[in-house]
């Protein structure tokens, strides 16, 4: 990869570099001071009893209730670790004999590339959350957490991707993704509003650009129970048409983690213990519900697109921490409905009747998920076994 010289700002228009650097030094030290001071032990307050209720009041009521129920429902952590969890020796103090000489340590060409035999290397899941999903995939039909906790889904937010200056994908004859997803979202909303009990909102109802943050803020402010982001795919291989669906990946809620850390200071529990519990509970709910929703919508779209294009490929359901899914508190999915780059698919999408069929499929998929006896999700699949080219 060629390294290009970095552009130098014109001195007249920009602040002098030494002044900029001094600003940055101040900033670094200030931030680190704040970090150190925030970790300092709390001095006894004049009215410590008054502090505790205030902290408790900041905890969202629903979070406390969910914690109480969820702690009793959570499975024991599997303690999955990429490598066997034998505790290392107590002493980890290095002796001079343990130290390597300063050297660049790199991996040489793997022996299998050179044709030698390979020693088995345990290929365990990278994280406990991955292990959780593997377990769920192998286990019989699960009871949805939402059903267990008696949670209902009333506010549905549909997010037509792109908009305004951001056209998204553009098909061979000029159809734009932003227009198609808005049309389908409006059709889906119209269908859902005919059913009782749902409040259906669109992140945008016009051809306007919305940032990802604005979409997330809209959904969270609206109290979204579900979030569905609509997109169309585009591939350099025009002969390929496929359906793929993403749902929320793994994350830790920063607000909850920080709040729990405060709550647990001085208790017998380490902040890490509660953080893991909270993370697992929140992760489990959002992840599992997002996964179930993703599968239900994906199957419905596969059938709808496949009814017109038997050659369409199933790219499967995957996890992905897309920014638009990352900040949402509700179960959320991102759908790549089909490939706009596929000429025949684009021609079908130009037909309003086909778009109505896609909206109907999304409605079916959504209702199948929302129904109490929804079928358990199938295992995620990736590319089929035949080559792409």
């Amino acid at each position: 990869m060629t390294a290009h010289p970095l552009p130098t700002p014109s001195p007249g228009a920009m602040p002098a570099m030494p002044a900029v650097k001094e600003t940055l030094w101040h900033g670094v030290v200030t931030q680190n001071l704040a970090l150190v001071l925030s970790a300092a032990p709390q001095r006894p307050a004049s009215a410590p009893a008054a502090l505790a209720p205030a902290r408790v009041r900041r905890l969202k009521p629903w979070l406390g209730a969910v914690l109480a129920v969820g702690l009793s429902l959570l499975p024991r952590p599997t303690g999955v670790h990429p490598f066997p969890t034998v505790a290392p020796p107590q002493s980890s103090v290095l002796s001079s004999g343990d130290l390597l000489a300063a050297a660049e340590v790199t991996i040489g060409p793997a022996s299998w590339l050179a044709g030698d035999a390979i020693a088995a290397f345990q290929a365990a899941p990278e994280s406990a959350t991955s292990a959780l999903s593997d377990t769920a995939a192998r286990s019989p039909a699960r009871l949805p957490i939402a059903a267990l906790l008696g949670l209902s889904f009333r506010t549905l937010v549909i997010d037509p991707g792109h908009g305004g200056k951001d056209s998204g994908a553009v098909g061979p004859s000029g159809l734009r993704e932003k227009d198609l997803v808005l049309d389908i979202a409006q059709r889906l909303r119209a269908r859902l509003l005919q059913r009782d009990g749902y409040r259906v909102l669109l992140t945008r109802t016009q051809d306007v650009k919305m940032t990802l943050k604005q979409r997330v803020a809209f959904a969270n402010a609206a109290g979204a129970d579900l979030f569905i982001s609509l997109h169309f795919n585009t591939l350099p291989q025009e002969h390929i048409n496929l359906v793929e669906t993403y749902y929320f990946g793994t994350e830790v809620d920063a607000v909850a983690a920080a709040l729990v850390a405060q709550e647990n200071r001085g208790s017998e529990f380490a902040a890490g213990d509660f953080r893991r519990v909270l993370a697992r509970l929140g992760d489990t709910f959002k992840r599992e519900e997002s996964r179930a929703l993703a599968h239900s919508l994906h199957q419905a779209l596969l059938a709808a697109v496949g009814a017109h294009d038997p050659t369409r490929l199933d790219a499967g359901v995957k996890t992905a921490p897309f920014m638009v899914l990352l900040g949402l508190e509700a179960p959320s999915v991102l759908l790549e409905i089909s490939c706009l780059s596929h000429p025949a698919e684009e021609r079908r999408l130009a037909d309003s009747a086909y778009r109505e069929q896609l909206a109907a499929a999304l409605e079916r998929g959504l209702l199948a998920y929302l129904a109490p006896n929804a079928a358990p999700p199938v295992r995620e699949r990736y590319w089929p076994s035949h080559a792409l080219r």
Partner: protein, 338 residues
């Protein structure tokens, strides 16, 4: 008898999920896989020459004789169990030892993921503070920007194994609006490639580590008109397979999240400087070495607005070098506050 050197030694550390790098003011630089291994039993320890702990490639080479730990996940301490804490403490001690401190007081700057939680920052800080007189933590992409002098109207995208970190520089300390972290990074590519190959070649004996090797050796994004052949063990024999399609699919899937994040960051920036930002996007980290990535990002961003991407020189070491440059530049008077 020689007098001990009382002059501080400045260190910049990049603790990565896959690799950790240290750059020292005495000119020493070292790069180690973020792996720690303890001998399984006394027989293994004897076979390893009596050593109590191994690091990096050596630990991996002797993986059958040691209990391996990767103490970092997504750039921060994994789960915070006692074993992980011991492993990261040992890794940090090893890195510092590689810098040949010779008893000098240490002043260390450590790069952390852009959206690192306070809890994780404290854990890392405490682990480093056992060895150092002064410790500062900085966002990793900010360290890269500082080291390159890209302090005005630039975006740094640091593509690591655990995270892809973004930092928008406007001549001030980047705040929450200017820092982002994505979890779809190098490890996600490895997992994707592993799953794709397992789906297509279920009879082959395949591991995640092999998938990582394929990615690092052959990984690419964008068009490719020649096969990429590797030999995989199938029932004890080696069989040749063309894995170009799976490689492309796996490596490409980090592009959409990066593009979406860049669009969001640019859109949130001051409109007078958005054009400057678009043409000053720097790619760093091991993932930036994926063949064709810069061109693919340029193509994808063109649908939004034309952008220019550049790969920084020696991208794996840019973070540690930037952290070193920062800790060396901070005046002595500032240190008294820490």
């Amino acid at each position: 008898m020689s007098v001990p050197n009382a002059e501080p030694l400045y260190l910049g550390i990049d603790l990565g999920t896959s690799r950790s790098v240290i750059a020292a003011s005495n000119g020493v630089e070292a790069e180690v896989l973020s792996i720690v291994g303890w001998p399984k039993d006394f027989v293994a320890q004897r076979a390893l020459g009596g050593r109590e702990v191994l690091f990096g490639a050596e630990a991996l080479e002797h993986r059958l004789a040691v209990e391996l730990y990767r103490p970092l996940d997504n750039g921060v301490l994994r789960d915070g169990t006692p074993q992980d804490q011991r492993a990261v403490a040992a890794l940090i001690a090893h890195l510092i030892a590689l810098s040949q401190p010779e008893g000098r007081p240490l002043r260390v700057a450590v790069g952390v993921p852009a959206e690192c939680l306070r809890i994780n920052k404290l854990a890392l800080r405490n682990a480093v503070a056992l060895h150092a007189e002064k410790v500062v933590l900085v966002a990793e992409p900010f360290a890269v920007a500082y080291g390159l002098g890209a302090l005005l109207h630039a975006i740094v995208v640091d593509i690591g194994a655990g995270t892809v970190d973004f930092c928008v520089m406007h001549g001030t300390m980047p705040g929450e609006r200017e820092l982002r972290s994505l979890l779809t990074a190098g490890n996600a590519i490895d997992r994707q490639l592993y799953e794709l190959l397992r789906e297509r070649i279920p009879e082959a004996s395949l591991t995640l580590e092999m998938a990582r090797q394929f990615k690092e050796t052959y990984g690419f994004v964008g068009p490719n008109d020649h096969p990429i052949k590797v030999r995989l063990p199938v029932a004890g024999r080696l069989v040749t397979y063309d894995i170009a399609a799976e490689l492309e699919r796996a490596c490409t899937h980090i592009v959409p999240p990066i593009v979406e994040t860049l669009i969001d960051l640019i859109a949130a920036a001051d409109p007078e400087y958005q054009e400057s930002l678009r043409h000053n996007i720097l790619l760093a980290g091991g993932g930036s070495q994926l063949r064709g990535l810069a061109a693919a990002l340029t193509r994808e961003m063109e649908r939004f607005e034309p952008c220019s991407f550049r790969c920084v020189p020696e991208p794996i070491r840019a973070g540690a070098r930037g952290a070193l440059a920062l800790i060396r530049d901070i005046p002595e008077s500032f240190f008294s506050q820490l």
